[in-house]
Symmetry: C2
DNA sequence: TCAAAACCTGAAGAATCCTTCTTATTTTCA
DNA sequence: TGAAAATAAGAAGGATTCTTCAGGTTTTGA
């Protein structure tokens, strides 16, 4: 394994086992099996390393969601909602420990910028998808779309941070969130469905 | 002002201006206009101070939500949803800087316990309220209720941390979240409304 | 082959930070 | 009033941490 790769992985492992408060250059180097000096050969400082790890993870997340949105253009809106929710949760659940570790570390000001950038990528991809829904047009899609993504990201984070395993393993979160989005989208449909 | 009170307020101010990473006993004492020695007269260590500040804030939040839930028993479920959303957002928006500062500081393991305890208080109060809805019974209220609160807490946090001012000032967050809950509750109603 | 470049090492400097402890001041209350 | 208790002050100890640097080892490529 590459030295840089080892450092990346070690950073995540330290984050998982010791938390962001105990993420020290010494510990990362030790875990990566290299010296502190080597670490500073590739990263100008601790902050840069931390930034890189977060950027990598969030970029991967954004790409996966973008791909899913692209793949569901022209589908029915209920399928779109399910795809969005399912993909997002799937990525997050794939490496649960990493997900939780990075959620905890997200407090740093530095990370906020990355989160913002990736949020906008995802929002754009999602909105582009819903615009092509085969069975509905939406009145104020922009607002609705922003809401859904805030709800999706926020709720998933909350569930992970509270470690509500039941909701994750039995798919309850996915099912309920999809249902919620479907009813919400239905209400935003244009022209409105007669009730 | 009390010394303890001054220390509490100073802690929040340091959290707001310098962030949780630079929350030092020296800085807090300085800002509070007391010596470090005095700080340690009231709190055994920095952690305890931090814990106390968070507990105080979250307890207040829980109490306000509980009161709102109690006040809306027997109402229509749409009104309940609005009350829940409105109250929660109102409390969070009242002192926006404090809200944001504590969100950022919530990464500490110590805080997770308090968050969990308060979440359960709020969940219980909310469920008790929705049980008394005058215009509907809900099939699996427990699941629906847990979902709504995760969505509420998660989404609001997301919006604050991303600093999406538009959604807060024009009431868009409140309106949309309430609408989403109403459509969701409507789908969970028993017996189901004919579509 | 062999010099230059790249890479690695780990001790040490410089800067903080948490916490304690001794001393001083103020308040309590008998 | 006056002594005991409570409160306050802030310098200093002890422990970490980030980062640099001088000097080795390995790889490259001509």
């Amino acid at each position: 394994m590459n030295t840089v790769e080892a450092i990346f992985e070690a950073t995540i492992q330290v984050l998982i086992s010791d938390g962001p408060g105990d993420l020290t250059t010494t510990r990362v180097a030790e875990r990566a099996g290299v010296s502190v000096g080597s670490l500073y050969q590739y990263f100008p400082n601790k902050q840069a390393l931390f930034h890189a790890v977060n950027e990598r993870y969030l970029t991967m997340l954004a790409e996966r969601v973008e791909a899913a949105c692209l793949a569901h253009r022209g589908a029915r809106y209920a399928e779109m909602a399910d795809a969005l929710v399912s993909t997002y949760i799937a990525v997050k659940i794939e490496r649960r420990d990493v997900t939780i570790a990075l959620y905890r570390a997200a407090a740093e000001v530095d990370v906020a910028e990355i989160v913002e950038a990736m949020s906008q990528r995802i929002e754009a991809a999602s909105q582009a998808m819903f615009t092509t829904a085969s069975d509905a047009k939406f009145a104020n899609l922009s607002t609705v779309n922003v809401m859904m993504l805030n709800v999706l990201c926020g709720t998933v984070r909350n569930v992970f941070e509270r470690d509500m395993s039941e909701l994750l393993i039995d798919g309850g979160l996915r099912t309920q969130l999809t249902l919620m989005f479907c009813t919400y989208l239905d209400a935003a449909k244009f022209p409105p469905s007669e009730a």
